[in-house]
Symmetry: C2
Subunit: 204 residues, 2 copies
Amino acid sequence: MPQARPAAVPADGLTTRQRRNRALLMVHTGDGKGKSTAAFGLALRAWNQGWPVGVFQFVKSAKWRIGEQSALAALDAVTVEQGGEARIEWHKMGSGWSWSRKAGTETDHAAEAAEGWAEIKRRLAAGTHRLYVLDEFTYPMSWGWVDVDDVVATLAARAQGQHVVVTGRNADPRLLDAADLVTEMRKVKHPMDAGQKGQRGIEW
Amino acid sequence: MPQARPAAVPADGLTTRQRRNRALLMVHTGDGKGKSTAAFGLALRAWNQGWPVGVFQFVKSAKWRIGEQSALAALDAVTVEQGGEARIEWHKMGSGWSWSRKAGTETDHAAEAAEGWAEIKRRLAAGTHRLYVLDEFTYPMSWGWVDVDDVVATLAARAQGQHVVVTGRNADPRLLDAADLVTEMRKVKHPMDAGQKGQRGIEW
């Protein structure tokens, strides 16, 4: 594949290198498959670069993403075996976030989502990770569990060097406006349309 | 995310379990990002299931996919350390396929692509892998380096239990017809449009 060239060189006062290294806000949306899978693929690249990665999974099913979670944990263990520090964190809502397991929060998903976002804000302010995977984060935005304007303003003002990828259907237009890269995963054909249910190794 | 239900139950004489376990032909196409990345995410799930995986990279640049290749190699090494057998193979064209480094093939890309496809056919007949990632394979199809009808007929007749994912732009309509799952990664917005070039950790 030939290397693509920029369509235009903007008058933003930045050198090509500065512009190239500007961290990205990425959104994977649409009704098709691959939104989260591609985000976890980015986490592979981040691991290979030695970046600290934070995954924040805004879904409730423990079954989903287990393959990716196991693989990233195994890769992180490789880093530690080689004398490095663990760099990949994986946090799930649904049974209390792993950094704060409060009893009783399991049933209040709105509060739990808000708590997840509050922690992400703290980490963005502290520059904790170099890649943030906010998996299925469009849903708590759509449902009003987190404030979209707050999300957009926080992401726009985040400290440099922090890439963020948000996945999920029906991404808010304000998020799309703020994003550097937006891909719509569009369903053209899905086996479920032909009566085939999800299967091991493919869906999880 | 609630578990989706099939839209219709087909009259194909299969039980739900049989239908569920039918291996899939998947295509990731479109002009957006994430086609290959999502395919390598599937390879993570396959690794977690202990499946033998074959990656066949129909591109010429050594830089691309290095993060995914390193990560999958590290995961395969974890399997071996745990007493298992190496199960992930990664083959690239561009400097001779790794199973057959013939001198002089570097410059004849059409012949090299055809040789790659011939090997994949042999492996499909032998049931070598449980997941085949045919990365950027739409291009040799578009360019006439491999015969599309042969590809479609071979994939349709492949032995059961072998998932195949094909990535690349402009997938041939015959391939789309034959596929069980097609996702179009559609570019909504890309940093290159704003003059930003690809960067380490994101593009490779």
